[in-house]
Symmetry: C2
Subunit: 200 residues, 2 copies
Amino acid sequence: MPKQVDHEERRRTIAEAVVRVVSTRGAEAASLRAVAAEAGVSMGAVQHYFTTRDQMLLFALEYGNSVLSERVGRLLAERRPATPRENFRLLFTLLLPLDEEGRAGARVWAALIARGCVDEPTSKLAADAYTNLTAFVVRGLTDAMTDHPASATDVARSARHLVSVIEGLRWPVLFGVYSEREALDVLDAQLDQIFRPARG
Amino acid sequence: MPKQVDHEERRRTIAEAVVRVVSTRGAEAASLRAVAAEAGVSMGAVQHYFTTRDQMLLFALEYGNSVLSERVGRLLAERRPATPRENFRLLFTLLLPLDEEGRAGARVWAALIARGCVDEPTSKLAADAYTNLTAFVVRGLTDAMTDHPASATDVARSARHLVSVIEGLRWPVLFGVYSEREALDVLDAQLDQIFRPARG
């Protein structure tokens, strides 16, 4: 079914164009017209794939989020950090806006949060993203702690703590208030908390 | 000069209307028309005070931010927490979206971040807000630590850590992923870190 493949590819091409517009000019600038121009297709083509602008933005934000997850998953698999602590450090470093790809991801994330505040389906998408990230960290921590197992409650709290730190570092870093060094110092202090040798 | 007073008041009334529109429907919905309707003034009146929509949004986001700061300052002064730890706990609890006022503040903050990603003056405003919040926490920690003074570097790192935690808790709480209890558990764990008795 080659036609089906084209269909999906076209949808993705448009979503990529939306993500680029959102990342460089904000969600507000992502009109059907601007997206069609960015994707190099007609406005009719955009409308063929997305009935409404809200639908288009939602799909694009979801797509942008999945691209970010895939990038992180791929780099974690490629670099194979030697210890759980290094694994987490890499994961969270990739979520910080420290290079152009990270900054673009953060800008799309900001659009996701802002739209999530006033649009119900986007709110659901943002909630799913935080739920999945937290669950991912819980699994990682549980695997890492086979030596000195912690209670499920403690692991869940540590995961929420880590997710909060990294989420909260994003914006002061993006706006140039915290340097890369300062952000990594906070991240390392948090990882020290979690991966300190068990006392006993 | 009563005319000057009216002028400032009118500007503030319009800013309040912008903040309400942004908080309930998003920055995108804050057209001159929508703001004029919300403020109960003519579009000409809005344009008299703000030449461009960007200028209007910037002023309103700055105003929204100052209202939040004033609220926090007022409640801290009113409730006079007994210990520095309680003082910080109250401060940060007020920044979390735990009641309708806090949620409205978070939604305006999301708009500030998202616009800051693509608009230079808003980026400057967001940077100032993070700089001021961090400096405020540094001063509070320095005052609190007269018993066991820490190095300025440690205090600055602790302040950035605290600010990150609270910033990062905002969104999972707003989107219903972390409960109030779960968010306060993370905050308390972080405060435990900072206010643990000096070892020695």
